[in-house]
Symmetry: D4
Subunit: 222 residues, 8 copies
């Protein structure tokens, strides 16, 4: 084990101390890294830590190459997530809502990451605000959740409505679904930040990963 | 009466033909005009047309000066509207919804203009989406409307929800109420244009006037 | 028939109650959905409703696959629209104007959707403001319309000019035609919202669909 | 008590049901409301609920007028907060960090709201990243917190650094402190959303209120 | 006379050579300069050149102070222009069109500068595109012009229409007249640059000065 | 010949009257039109007018197809211009400067259009401001020009420097050459509009065409 | 002296260790701090360090109050700088160029800070690129400099030209001088970052302070 | 050798005088130039100067073609740099830090250019602020540097932290690494310019080249 708290691989310095500080090993951001680099970082993290090791936003081809080099992992293709040593459930119920079918990939990433770190995910798709009864029909599911991730593109209105229905933490994820005035998700992002529902928080566009990790931070402190 | 279709006052050319083309005299945009200029334009329009003559966005001081120069008008202070020869009701029911109390001045302008051109206005305030039951409680009022003007600042979510409830025309007005990520109403504007509710239309930020006139165009064609 | 007002297909919740609320079944947004998903949603909507069922922005390949799975529909390739059970004409005349030949695809979508929901469309192409006589030559057509959809890219000036000529509802559609300072249609969008012609309304960039649905809302309330 | 879940005051519809749904009465947004309107809404909320009633962003003059009309409240001038029936502490430790002395008013609002709803606040000022040892000196305080609110203007870097040190929830608040490229806080906002530290969440610019409420949602679910 | 081509006043270096290079002495930009500084620069330019000396954007108070220090000049208050030794007319007809009465101050600056450098100005106000007949009524005036300055705020459509009517140079000036989506004139600016009328040129927002100088460059080369 | 001033081809309305109004037939914008549509419009314009007929932004493949359908034209590949009946030189000297070698395609379009309408072009490449002596070496060429087109990407500084050297009209063309902070040419565009050199005019990003046409308008009025 | 490397004043934590790390005590950012707070921080820094103590962006009234509380300092009103224990000259020649007279306040701040930390400043005002000979006349001054600060608003072209003339470090400061398309200095900022002159660096809008400190870092390493 | 200070190749004017002015021949910007054009410019520069000749942003295919035409050069593929006559080391230590592995290509360009012009580069990768101990572990390396280039995408926080640790010049390079709210590097750019660390300078997005050249300017003046 490293005494410096990191490994120096030249091209990367995996933070081997993060599990001690935050309860979870560093999670690897896949884009811009070669399969060999990912494999090197994962190997370092698996050795230095005992918890789950994850790599986000990995394409299927890279996933195959990494899994061949570092056995024992699993690839969630809808969520584009590579995972080794997934955590056992810790009894935290996370509802993952999405406004439309097209928001599916972001919901898949949120769910894959959340489950890999031990949260229990309940996915609810296509409850956009243009047909409110679809949302009102799942009120009991929402009431049972410890936290809610709300994913929406276009005008990003769903978090405001959910935020008015529930008292638990609401983590809003804007998506780049839409066109024109949606501005690749910037409009939904700004709308969620301007929400009239008190205490909603927001993460980066299309970042199911960030939402799952925000939920993990909450779960860890319960 | 002008044969050219306009008067040439030097500083302005009132469009005396507009009533013939569009059913309503030109409506005067107040900002940037002196009280004397407003009075001159109003006088020209009153003489050349028979319908209502309106001036928007007039401060109380200017209003007093103009009314002194051109008697017979009325000033609606909340809506900042000067009006002469207001139209008789034509049996068109316009619901004017606003998301928050702070959107009141925009709603006041929409209502003042709409009533001056003969629409029957039903105002419903403070039905923002963070407390949906307030909106659901007025569903019958919405169902009875011939068109709905929906006014909202912050994230501008209300038109999407209303657009999913009613089948009549929905005219959305973004307001500059809010701060930071609201970007003086630009966020609400872009959100409304990106709405997932089909067939919603949008007018300029804080423009109760534009919304009322859009409703008038619809009313006229019934 | 659903008692909840929607079907739960897992990946989607078709709003089977929308026809009752708004006079028209939910219209399906194609992008981001697989052909199988589209077919599933369409099947649900056809079963639960009696009116036209539409899917927007469908590529020819997907269209073929969906039509094979759900017979009885038609594909309008210029408008990229799939439609089943198109509505009978309801006697509402909609003029669809476009500023330039390059705006054709947006006009095609507006026309295809409008006709599928029962409006009678009169298309007028290439009447941009740099040659005003082309527009003035169709004044009689405009005067005969119950509403006008005005489609323009570049500077988006055409709606302002049309808005000054006619008294009926004007629905402006900015397009992403142009380059540089057009900013993918954002400039035309902002220009139309800033129009000096009173009562013009605006929908999202390149959204012939939204314009047609806005016209449908007006037609329905006549 | 209302059976509809709200009072209709004409200019406002206080959501009297919110305490039942979310554990806390509706919190009143002060700007754009007159002192009389605020007093009316507060009176309604006090009557229909049993928990704390708060009004945000109130100027001293308005505060005095409201307190005269509705006795029993307190005014926190640095946090611009009016509060009646403040909640008892519920044993949730919230650290409120700010990067610079100029971020003080936002920290004051966050602290005032959080304490009024029963959180125990520990404020730590002026620990910006240009002098890291100041932050490292309070690591024990951070480790003891159940959640951390991190307030920063200029480049908004502090939440990323804090997010790498602690495992608990981190709520980032961008402020408009700075000039030029800070763009009134938009730069800090976008930077925080782009943070390389996993699971950080963000609220609107200068909104100490939103951060406190996000913490409250977390506290409530423990 | 300077052999270096400029005077060094410490706070400023008047370009005394510009008249030789460009036919006109340097024109002084007023904002950010004290009356004493303006007077110093003007004195230098009057001594080193023989043509007109102008200062733009001067408030009445500063104008009085400068004129007291440097006699012989005139102040055009609507155009906020100070001028000494105004040029004789050179037989170049410049039409200055403005879309609305509120664009008056920009038109006044354009006219004041143009006349001071020897152009013959014909002003035509309030010919916005919402009432086309007003513009068509002045077609003969436009046809007689050697160049046209077209001033418009809001959506900035007028230059496109004028550009389609005339064959002479068209210089478009966007103004900050309007609100919301006009974005302080940026929308009109971008719209004019995206114009479908071929060969239109654009200058900075509200810069009647720049338009007049562009016309002067054309006039000089005839 | 058309009595309406245009041909109605269904997909397009060529403005056959433009030559009478402006001295030059309508110039066809290529993008978004099929080769068959271009051929149809060109045929109409060749029949109804006597001057040059041009089509801009045509790819080589489309150019070949159109030339096969409408013989007698020429294709300038660097300038992507199709031209029939090019005009004879009218004795107007246009200097076309470009800041860098990468700006070449824009300069090629400007030159091709300008020469096709009868201007005499003198091209000067790679005289960017980081090596001023290159520009100063061509001062005599600049002094001999009747107008100057100045093309620059990156920071767009060249027009300001040229504008300070010459007294003739300066038409600035921003290009999308550069990366990052250049924002696809928007930075150069805004910089040119903010130029400290008096009387510079600006056209759309990468629009050599617009610059050439602006020069043509000047040439025509000499 | 502090063993933690900072003082904890409650509202601020002066970084008393910075002089050891960076050769200069922390420099205090004035805005948003009361005179009493400034005095407290200055007192702390004077006690814990031996070098110059500076406060930027102080208004004259606050300056007087602080100087009364902490004697021995000096106030530079044009540069809005408070300074105690100004450093002795270290033989580093810094040229401070400004494009226009209106950029004076930014140049004053740069000069005041630079001189207070021991640099020798040579100010050269009003050498904008529209009159190049003014700049070429000071080439010898530029050649003698160890570094150059170049201050410009509007289009921000001056740093590119200077960057092509000299081989020493060039620090560009965009200013908010200008209007419209200058966008409060953002245009100049982006232009400078896009400069075609190699190796120019940029600091925040209007920040003479940042430029002086960048020069100080260079001077310190000589 | 040229007496004009440049060669006129028609498509380019290599600045053969730059080595005399600035100590280094002109560096060629590769994009938008053909291999033949690059070869021509390089040949001119090699003949007229004695120092290193560099071409940036060259793809491998173009590199091969140019090297075949102009022997004696070397191609650094990670840094996409072509170089002839690389300079001998001048004893200036430049630390090149990058926040994440994905920033590697920008670091490679910075290092390749810096070494080619004679600086001694020490690269330190993956020291992002979410794991501060990785950065603190290299404090001695930083203290030994004459200047530091700090490369970061996402929120761009690293330069602020480094700027607080070292007293030498800090040149910040924002990268386009990240997504959504990162806005292709604009967010990191604006954040770095808003840094609370005094005296940090910034170059264009992804421009390792600009950072290396800024360091060269500093090195040259030592």
């Amino acid at each position: 084990m490293s005494t410096t708290g990191f490994d120096d691989l030249g091209y990367a310095r995996p933070d081997t101390d993060r599990e001690a500080r935050q309860g979870l090993p560093e999670i690897v951001y896949g884009p811009g890294k070669s399969a060999a680099q990912i494999a090197g970082v994962v190997t370092s993290l698996l050795r230095a830590n005992t918890g789950p090791v994850l790599v986000t936003r990995v394409d299927p081809d890279d996933a195959r190459a990494v899994l061949a080099a570092v056995p024992g992992g699993e690839y969630d293709e809808p969520g584009r997530l590579l995972a080794w040593r997934r955590a056992a459930p810790r009894g935290f119920r996370l509802a993952v809502l999405s406004a439309g079918t097209s928001d599916g990939p972001v919901a898949a990433e949120a769910a894959a990451v959340a489950e890999s770190v031990g949260l229990t995910v309940h996915r609810i798709a296509d409850v956009g605000v243009a047909g409110l009864h679809r949302l009102l029909a799942v009120r009991d599911d929402l009431a049972a959740a410890d936290a809610v991730v709300v994913i929406a593109g276009m005008e990003g209105a769903l978090p405001s409505v959910v935020g008015g229905l529930v008292g638990c933490p609401v983590i809003a994820v804007p998506t780049s679904v839409g066109y024109g005035a949606n501005l690749q998700g910037v409009t939904a992002l700004l709308a969620m930040l301007s929400s009239c529902a008190a205490g909603i928080t927001v993460v980066n566009i299309d970042s199911g990963f960030a939402a799952a990790m925000a939920a993990y931070r909450i779960a860890r402190k319960r």
